[in-house]
Symmetry: C2
Subunit: 526 residues, 2 copies
């Protein structure tokens, strides 16, 4: 149940799929030079691997407890969080004027992936602090910023989902208390509480910004929060994959098909187990690439010097966010389930830890807006507001990438291009039909929105892996450095094209025609 951050894959995704170079070109601070980046990622990897990951399973078993009204996290968690704050990790993406390090979200996203893989339950606390910090940075008064931000950026004060933010520094307790802890399917170490406010005369709150604009303020932070949850899908999938791969390399059972040796072999030698592992790995590589791309677009929408470019990047990130959130978290559940399957009967026993990932992952398609809400957001807001123009621009860029890959020789490039073009044609047709359907029959469009989002995710994942494949081919042509790694990236892209991307065209029907049937039965006939 160890976790080794896949630094090489993460760097490859940042550079070759997300196009970090675009951000590096704008970076005056040297935050993104290769040595600094290596150092940041390497240090985060150590903390995630050595201090946080070992607590994940024991934290699940012990859970958080309620002890005389005080929530106690599992043994070791306090110390690990201390090390996390001590290392300055909480401050990574926040503004330097509040004590932050001003790192781009693209890099913070890669770092956050490691905390999330190490322990989803642990990383929820910084994730919620980040949301509250974002809110105050954007909408707090100067007094509020001065009062709260330094300690929140540092991480010594933390955020929650509810408004627990005021605590009198002089020590008086606010009038709120924890009534009970929820009994949840997963993320047991994260204390989800039933709260009572004002039992003793009234709780104190502070208004952030103007009255009655809370929902609007929430929307301004939504892209970050939804990207963070999509990333959790990537992260739990990576953890489940690493565990399944380790098991498959060590568990010896049955003879090898096609071998004359009658002795049993590690189950990784069995083709169906290899298929599962490669399905897991390639789904992760695609979803990671897409999440990092969305993070880079987010940075460009804020950092690009040109206003029109900022607006274009904003439109792109708005388009991609619901896809990253919903598609990557659905993948997280599917891949965690495959991780259980690779273990066979041992996967159903809690001791191995595979089952924990399956339980933990299940919250991801639900919170921060259910995946159904993401699908509606994609269809009605993101396609609806510009009649599909942002989607068309994305399709154009992906087609250009397919063309560029097609210029390379070899079976792999040809196979990837063929499947990507089929996927792009399907997405193009579905997008046009969905834009038309929105006006003609909004309920049908809503009924087809989830299959449409899955189609979008499969194709967008194919697009970033095709970029990776092109970089791998270019790298292989340039020389022998990293040849094995680059050949593996090429194989990943092709496997994804054969096993994931090939499903894309079949979803057009469910997205466009399938919606008609949703109303065929009365509520009581379903």
């Amino acid at each position: 149940m160890t976790y080794a951050p896949p630094l090489a894959e993460m760097r490859f995704a940042l550079e070759e799929m997300a196009g970090l170079g675009r951000l590096r070109a704008l970076d005056a601070d040297g935050h993104l030079d290769h040595a600094t980046l290596d150092q940041v990622l390497g240090e985060a990897a150590r903390l995630a691997r050595d201090a946080i990951a070992p607590l994940n399973h024991s934290g699940d078993r012990a859970g958080s407890r309620l002890d005389n009204g005080v929530v106690r996290t599992p043994p070791g968690w306090r110390q690990a969080y201390g090390a996390f704050v001590e290392g300055g990790w909480n401050a990574l993406p926040f503004a330097p004027e509040h004590g932050g390090q001003g790192m781009p979200w693209a890099v913070a996203t890669a770092v956050h992936e490691m905390w999330e893989s190490a322990s989803l339950a642990f990383a929820l606390c910084p994730l919620l602090t980040a949301g509250a910090t974002d809110l105050l940075q954007a909408h707090g008064s100067e007094a509020q910023k001065a009062k709260y931000l330094p300690r929140m950026v540092e991480g010594s004060w933390t955020g929650t989902m509810k408004s627990e933010m005021p605590r009198d520094p002089a020590g008086a307790r606010n009038d709120l208390r924890v009534v009970s802890l929820e009994n949840k399917l997963g993320i047991h170490a994260s204390p989800t509480c039933v709260m009572a406010y004002g039992d003793d005369g009234g709780a104190i709150g502070e208004l952030v910004g103007e009255e009655n604009r809370g929902l609007e303020y929430m929307f301004t932070m939504m892209n970050n929060a939804r990207l963070a949850v999509g990333l959790q899908g990537v992260a739990i999938a990576e953890r489940a994959f690493q565990q399944a791969r380790a098991y498959a390399l060590s568990r010896v059972q049955s003879r090898e098909l096609g071998s004359r040796d009658p002795g049993p072999v590690p189950i990784v030698r069995h083709p169906d187990v290899r298929r599962m592992l490669m399905t897991m790995r390639t789904g992760i590589e695609a979803a990671r690439g897409l999440a990092y791309l969305a993070a880079t677009e987010l940075d460009l929408s804020r950092r690009h010097p040109d206003e029109a470019a900022r607006a274009a990047h904003q439109a792109r990130v708005d388009l991609l966010i619901p896809v990253v959130k919903a598609w990557a978290t659905d993948l997280g559940v599917e891949i965690a389930s495959m991780g259980v399957q690779v273990h066979g009967g041992m996967g159903f026993v809690e001791e191995t830890g595979a089952a924990q990932h399956y339980r933990d992952a299940r919250i991801l398609p639900i919170y921060e807006g259910t995946n159904g809400i993401q699908a509606n957001d994609l269809v009605f807001r993101k396609l609806g507001r510009d009649a599909g123009a942002a989607a068309a621009s994305f399709l154009d860029e992906a087609r250009a990438d397919a063309d560029a890959l097609a210029a390379h020789a070899g079976d792999d490039a040809a196979a990837i291009v063929a499947r990507l073009r089929a996927g792009l044609d399907a997405l193009d047709a579905a997008t046009r039909a969905m834009v038309a359907l929105q006006a003609a029959s909004p309920r049908r469009a809503a009924a087809g929105a989830s299959p449409y989002l899955r189609l979008f995710g499969l194709v967008a994942g194919g697009h970033v892996l095709a970029r990776g494949a092109r970089a791998a081919l270019a790298g292989l042509a340039a020389g022998p450095a990293d040849a094995a790694f680059l050949r593996a990236r090429l194989a990943s892209a092709r496997f994804y094209a054969d096993h994931w991307l090939s499903q894309a065209p079949s979803l057009v029907h469910a997205a466009i025609e399938g919606g008609a049937l949703v109303e065929a039965l009365g509520d009581d006939e379903i």
Copy 2:
């Protein structure tokens, strides 16, 4: 968390999809006349609904316990099992000479579905007893049959997965003991034990049949056991569906899309929730129809008077069993997961019970031969032994059913036929390619076996629903009786065609081409 056995759907599946009439024509005992069948199903439904289903959630919370070496089932379970035995339900499918009732497996399968939906953990005990009973019926000596079968058929002695079967009627305990209970992801009420044998001088066992033929004997019972587990997939999906539907009808949230009324509505009115519920319902109807069809073929393989017909039915049941086991259990996990999603945040909280189904379902693709093993069985044994002849015969029959449905007027029939024919073409092509691949490259065939099995399941499910659609159209043409029910069956078949069956053609690629890539990377590069 109630469960209401879907008797109308079960009767429809038995009569119109499985073709129970073929068995009724051979039935001299009157076991299958409509009144008897109604009575059996109705009585079973009462016991499942009133006595067993209410224990499912409390049993999960309490779990089985180990108390001074004795396993204690959760409160109320002993009494419920007593009522089950008292009612004669354990004896349903066994031979009358041992106290059984000689019911066909088709009927027993419908009855078993109710126990499994009521509580997967409860029904595991009779399932394991049935396996052991089958073994003794087929391979036990006359003395063994006389000693064990009456009480096992009755259910007062039960079977296990391991050979715990000898217990001296005079009262001396055998030298075996329970060391511990496994800490499992689900089916908590079912005591999965670590056992120790012979710590105190040696445990006593009895040899059944001849030495060294145990594995061969196991194979003779495998069809029954695998069918039973496939049925568990249907059953847990049905339970999860009923729970999600009840929640969606009662939970009020957000305004209705396309309505002028700004007030919140039950979430069943939201198109994406309807889509999920219909996806669940129609997947269940297809998998149930296929499981009942396999059970009926099993009966015909034993009861048909003509030897050639028996052999043909045997070939059909051998072909369908791995598909039912793997496809229906994969569906069980997917549908239980959708059930959590319909609940939103409440699905992640254990109190609602939705999460239990998600946990319980996860064992099904693993035990009784993992789904990967089923896929290999389908490709190497079931296609391999007759070069695809049994599959070709199944395809011919399904094509004839598609033609018969095509003779009916209307959009629904046309849409279902179009998707079914596309699925049949895909399955036909994949089957031919898979037969060729087996000889040319067995490891590639093995790597494509799971996608091939899924393709087979999706198409076979479409086939039984097309039969149902034809029966519904014929019934609607005949008169107004049951019109709403029959229209709903037609809508189910079309929804399945649009949302499930439409995925079939996309799997040909993963099944046939996708296998090539499984070997692209070394073991340590995956």
